[in-house]
């Protein structure tokens, strides 16, 4: 420890000390073992002080790269021409360029002209944004909103909103668990771990069908102790792209109600999955219509392309307006020691886009375009693989899955082969981001997938 080093050093210092006189201003260094001694004048006395160069954080190990965000780093480092980044879920144009929505540019110019100030938002965020986001999620005429039963707090995109929800659970539902799908977005586990909320998994992905293990899902939700929080993806499940059908959603709602569980929705792709904002919110609205109390985390990273602005919301729909008020106050109390108040820029963009009818219509059209491009790419990929692969394997899951991602069914070794041999960057769980795929690259990708699937085990 630092202090031990100090005492040893101090004992050895005396021979040098005697050469310093009282008022001498002497700045010198002497190396002694691992630390450096400095002599400094201090208010007319000699103070022999030892510089503490031994860090408090000496034993800190190097953390592993993030499994998702680390993929892009590795991609950037690759110098090969044919490289393809299907890692992180960020939308790309057909030219594989990032895309700033036109409505966003227009909103930003409006904001620039108006010369808005940069004052602190309230802890709960921009009021206009909170209103817009709840209405977007539930529908402006939803009874829950009319009855003021919705507590909405602006959050740091999906991650930050989920973290607020997790912190609420840890503080007010001690001992309660969260049930998360197997598999789920990698960061869900980190969020609940760091928030100290225990979790376990419900079956979700069926590798045999590359589809939903519906029976397993229902069974596991039923088996969980009463009052468990069940984390559900509102639409475009990440990483599989496999969503329950409307009929399956009804059954899921049934069993959650029977067991007195609390549904916790992660809605990161509203509008992006089917192209329709309302359609993609159907699952959430179903639960709310049944009178259930629901937590919902939202993100505008993908559907408004506002990734780096970190804009989202945590919504708690509860049984009374009085309850919503109390819950909102406690969400604020959790947010204050995390970041005090949320960033304003993204919130203003959303509020402007959603609040200006012309811009809102334009947004809907741009979203249909983005979702449409993904659907086209899915079709092209499916066509390419089906025509090239003579093994008879059923690749139709590519078409059945929805949203930005596709779970290819490739295992870790096969995924590694995709990267090492074909320079196709993806996550080790076999997930590819179709948003990073162009029609032009579908043939190449088809070859890579076929090779990895058949020739690598």
């Amino acid at each position: 420890m630092a202090s031990a080093v100090l005492s040893i050093a101090t004992q050895c210092v005396s021979p040098n000390a005697s050469s310093l006189s009282i008022n001498e201003t002497h700045k010198g260094k002497a190396k002694l073992g691992g630390s450096t001694l400095r002599f400094s004048k201090s208010s007319g006395r000699i103070s022999m002080t030892v510089a503490v160069n031994v860090s408090r954080f000496e034993g800190i190990p190097m953390a592993p790269p993030d499994p998702i965000l680390g993929v892009s780093e590795a991609f950037r480092a690759d110098t090969n021409d044919v490289k393809l980044n299907l890692g992180v879920g960020a939308y790309r144009t057909e030219e594989l360029q990032p895309y700033v929505l036109n409505v966003v540019k227009k909103a930003e110019n409006l904001m620039l002209e108006r010369g808005d100030n940069k004052e602190y938002l309230p802890i709960e965020g921009l009021a206009a944004f909170n209103k817009a986001t709840a209405e977007l999620l539930l529908g402006a005429d939803n009874p829950a909103i009319k009855e003021q039963r919705v507590a909405t707090v602006q959050g740091l995109s999906g991650t930050g909103s989920l973290r607020l929800g997790a912190a609420l659970i840890e503080r007010y539902f001690p001992g309660s668990k969260v049930l998360i799908s197997a598999p789920t977005w990698g960061n869900h586990k980190n969020i609940f771990n760091d928030a100290r909320v225990p979790w376990s998994e419900y079956r979700y992905y069926d590798p045999r069908t590359v589809g939903l293990d519906f029976e397993g899902m229902i069974e596991d939700i039923k088996a969980a102790p009463e009052g468990t929080f069940v984390l559900l993806h509102g639409c475009a499940h990440n990483p599989t792209g496999i969503d329950p059908t409307p009929e399956q959603w009804e059954k899921i709602a049934d069993v959650i109600q029977q067991k007195n569980h609390i549904p916790f929705f992660d809605v990161a792709y509203q509008g992006f999955a089917s192209g329709s904002l309302d359609e993609d919110a159907a699952s959430v609205r179903l639960f709310v219509a049944r009178g259930m109390e629901v937590l919902v985390a939202q993100s505008y990273s993908k559907n408004l392309g506002l990734y780096a602005e970190r804009i989202g919301a945590m919504n708690v729909i509860s049984s009374s307006s009085e309850s919503a008020t109390r819950v909102k106050s406690q969400l604020k109390r959790l947010a204050r020691p995390m970041y005090s108040n949320p960033p304003v820029h993204g919130a203003r963009i959303v509020a402007n886009v959603v609040g200006t009818p012309v811009l809102f219509d334009e947004w809907k059209a741009e979203m249909e375009m983005m979702a449409g491009r993904i659907k086209n790419v899915r079709q092209k990929l499916y066509d390419s693989i089906s025509s090239k692969d003579k093994s008879g394997k059923d690749w139709s899951f590519i078409l059945k899955q929805i949203g930005m991602f596709s779970y290819t069914g490739l295992n870790k070794n096969q995924s590694d082969n995709m990267t090492n041999k074909w320079h196709v960057y993806m996550t080790k769980d076999g997930r590819i981001s179709l948003a990073g795929l162009s029609l032009a690259k579908c043939e190449y990708l088809a070859d890579a997938i076929i090779d990895s699937y058949h020739n690598v085990s």
């Binding site: 009855e147 780096a308 020691p337 005090s340 960033p343």
Partner: protein
Amino acid sequence: MAVRNSLSGQLFRRSSVVAGARFMSSWFRSIEPAPKDPILGVTEAFLADQSPNKVNVGVGAYRDDNGKPVVLECVREAEKRIAGSQFMEYLPIGGSIKMVEESLKLAYGENSEFIKDKRIGAVQALSGTGACRLFAAFQHRFHPNSQIYIPVPTWANHHNIWRDAGVPMKTFRYYHPETRGLDFSGLMEDIKNAPDGSFFLLHACAHNPTGVDPSEEQWREISSLIKVKGHFPFFDMAYQGFASGDPERDAKAIRIFLEDGHLIGLAQSYAKNMGLYGQRVGCLSVLCEDEKQAVAVKSQLQLLARPMYSNPPVHGALIVSTVLGDPELKNLWLKEVKVMADRIIGMRATLRENLEKLGSPLPWQHITNQIGMFCYSGLTPEQVDRMTSEFHIYMTRNGRISMAGLNTGNVGYVANAIHEVTKSA
């Protein structure tokens, strides 16, 4: 006790019919309303007040002489340059590299050897709050048995931050009510009595809420003693440039510690000095023994940030790196930050003059001795309540006045109010 226990323990189910849907008792029944945030709650109350004379000297946000928020010219210029043209792709978890580089130069010195030797593990953070929270979480993870020593008083949110990060707090003496100045001997004693190797939270300049800073000489003694004790110094620097008008001067305490060989931690904020309050942009840095350690520390900070917010917001970071990275814009910024600091210093003098002219029986030198945005007036909570109820002047109950809320138009009114509530004290 979890709400669900009370529900399943009894068969009783209370339900209410609302628009045809039946509800069980809410899951959130046991959630109590949170108390209003003592600082941000003041502004809420101020906004609700209808009086034409109302004055907000609560929250620390700069106002010009007309009481209006200010967006700096250098910031507007930077925004023009970045509007619409930048992609909004995710920043790395550690944030904007350019912004972090510029922040380190500002704090550690343009030609700092530590920057050259890459010994600083640093990440972009969600303003000062986020930087402190990230450090507190880091401290908890790697020194789980440690505590944080905080000055009495300190910014209210420091308590919340380390508490929610699971790090217990201890205090050290700081403010001396009798002199409205620094309790230097108490401070030194408490540093000495703390077990070797404790973590200490220090305000680099413009102490919040008191405005009382150690002198340069006192900082040198504090540094020496902390070194002898092997304590870890964590600096919260929210007002660099804003205190004296000169960023180099405001970083003096940090530079003293660096010269003395401390391995410091530092939270920086651009909320006040660049007026970027709502953008939430700041920086957390930890000075390490060598580059390898700095890389490891940064990687662990990222591991903590990922489940909090994944990656930090880009807009404010772009503004900061554009301003600091362009010599012309940086010069403009230096001028503008001096204008803000000078206006505050001027208001301090005026407030003190007014109180003395009114014939106040109490001493008021502390108003001009103290520095930065805040003044610890010495008003009691009861006197503060009178300021609000009788004069519609809003401030926090610890007697802290945000000098930025004063201007030539209201300083006389405020002086008069202070005099009224204190003259019989």
